[in-house]
Point group: C2
Chain length 151, copies 2
């Protein structure tokens, strides 16, 4: 089963692809980025087209999409939510079932402890995917963590 | 010029269409609705497809899309923002330029007063569109108000 993990953001959406049928399940990871100088509509459009492209090349059977962490900055959260809406729409258009996961669920499933530090989650990601170093940026590693949760 | 006003929501997105080339600019208004028992992905997908249909039948030249009012209920705001993301994506896919308007901007442009009560905004909508009664539900009237702002 090919699993696509996504950590949504308007400027940077982390993605991670794993294939549970392989001895070494790691396939690829990275970020879908949009430039800050474009308006929101253009950025959402670019994000949607980049995800469509990623789906076309990675053929995921299912997706794990992080829920939005609701921090202090409302306007950032609102932009992230709009980006997440586009990601869910594109996944649904491609008939890819989605599991939504909160940051707490991801930490809890991977480490057994919902308040685990990021470094501990990253350590589990490295170990389970036989990686020597943590993928950068963090959004890509977070996306792999989400994908591992439903593996 | 045909203007599409939108008041985003996951369960109910108000829409209003006006045609400024006509003596009576009112064309139509209503709501795009999604059932609460579906999951978020399915609701976003339905919303996107309904908007595509509305665009295909109304041929708007431009859209006025309300910004999200950030109230006490964070999870409602996050769902609304995800819906708004899909609306912006579909508009951009159809090459329809978007103007984003805050509730304060809409009130201010239509009544000259940013803290005007809803009834006063609705009165302007009725007057400018030669309507005897305020369209129902409120979301449809709000969408017409947004459209009038860029007329």
């Amino acid at each position: 089963m090919i699993i696509l993990g996504l950590d949504p953001g308007i400027g940077r959406t982390g993605f991670g692809v794993i294939d549970t049928s392989k001895a070494n399940p790691y396939v690829r990871c990275g970020c879908l980025t949009t430039p800050q100088n474009l308006d929101v509509s253009d950025r959402l459009n670019m994000l949607g087209e980049d995800l469509s492209q990623l789906i076309a090349t990675s053929h995921p059977d299912v997706a794990a999409v992080e829920q939005i962490f609701f921090g202090k900055n409302h306007s950032t959260a609102m932009l992230t939510a709009q980006a997440r809406g586009v990601l869910l729409y594109i996944l649904r258009q491609n008939n890819i079932p989605v599991e939504s996961l909160t940051p707490l669920q991801i930490k809890s499933r991977l480490t057994g402890y919902g308040a685990a530090p990021k470094s501990q989650v990253q350590s589990v990601v490295r170990q389970q995917l036989h990686l020597d170093i943590t993928p950068q940026p963090d959004d890509a590693a977070d996306a792999l963590a989400a994908a591992l949760c439903i593996a």
